[in-house]
């Protein structure tokens, strides 16, 4: 994946990542969280702006910082690093809104050549996961690293 991305910081278990988006609206701290779910094999990917005051992250924030592609490339890079540590895990991702879920799909499509080479990728419609198709609208996404 030869796309410009931000330098990531992570804690030692590679489940929490942080980076700083630098763009039109200045520097914005971003947090990526791989959350353990009730399914022992599945982690949930949460991503958003980190508020300095509350220390909370906001998945609904629209930073409009003019660096969407670089931000998406950075999130994808974090996913690769996570799977390097947890190669048999599933990662689930769903936006907080339909628009945000479409943004996730846009990110997948942007890096689809690499993603489909390296991951088993599924899209969710209702209760069912099917093999991901770039032109299909989904409610969520599920990825698993392809192991050789």
């Amino acid at each position: 994946m030869h796309v410009d991305k931000y330098q990531l910081k992570s804690e030692e278990e590679l489940t929490r990542f942080e980076f700083i988006s630098e763009g039109l609206n200045g520097a914005i701290r971003k947090l990526i969280e791989f959350q353990r779910t009730t399914d022992p094999e599945t982690y949930n990917l949460a991503f958003g702006d980190k508020h300095p005051a509350t220390e909370g992250i906001d998945d609904l924030a629209v930073s409009d910082n003019g660096d969407t592609e670089k931000v998406l490339a950075t999130v994808v890079a974090a996913v690769y690093a996570f799977f390097d540590r947890y190669p048999t895990a599933y990662v689930y991702a769903q936006g907080s809104t339909k628009a945000r879920t479409r943004l996730y799909r846009m990110g997948i499509n942007r890096f689809y050549a690499d993603v489909r080479r390296d991951f088993h990728l599924y899209g969710r419609i209702g209760e069912n996961f099917a093999d991901f198709e770039p032109d299909t609208e989904y409610e969520g996404f599920l990825a698993q690293r392809k192991l050789s």
Binding site: L8, K9, T38, A46, P87
Partner: protein, 53 residues
Amino acid sequence: MKTAQNPTKKKWPFVTIDPALNEYRDKIMFPEKLEQANKVLKTAKLPPNKNRR
């Protein structure tokens, strides 16, 4: 003061391990997202695990 370290794996040069972030390891920074995922996973049919040995 703890400072950022170089990544232990040269494979990921864009990731720096920063012990200062360890405080977030067990925190759920966005509980609504986790709740949303758990609700989905409760009923969704996951595809067969192709990596299970």
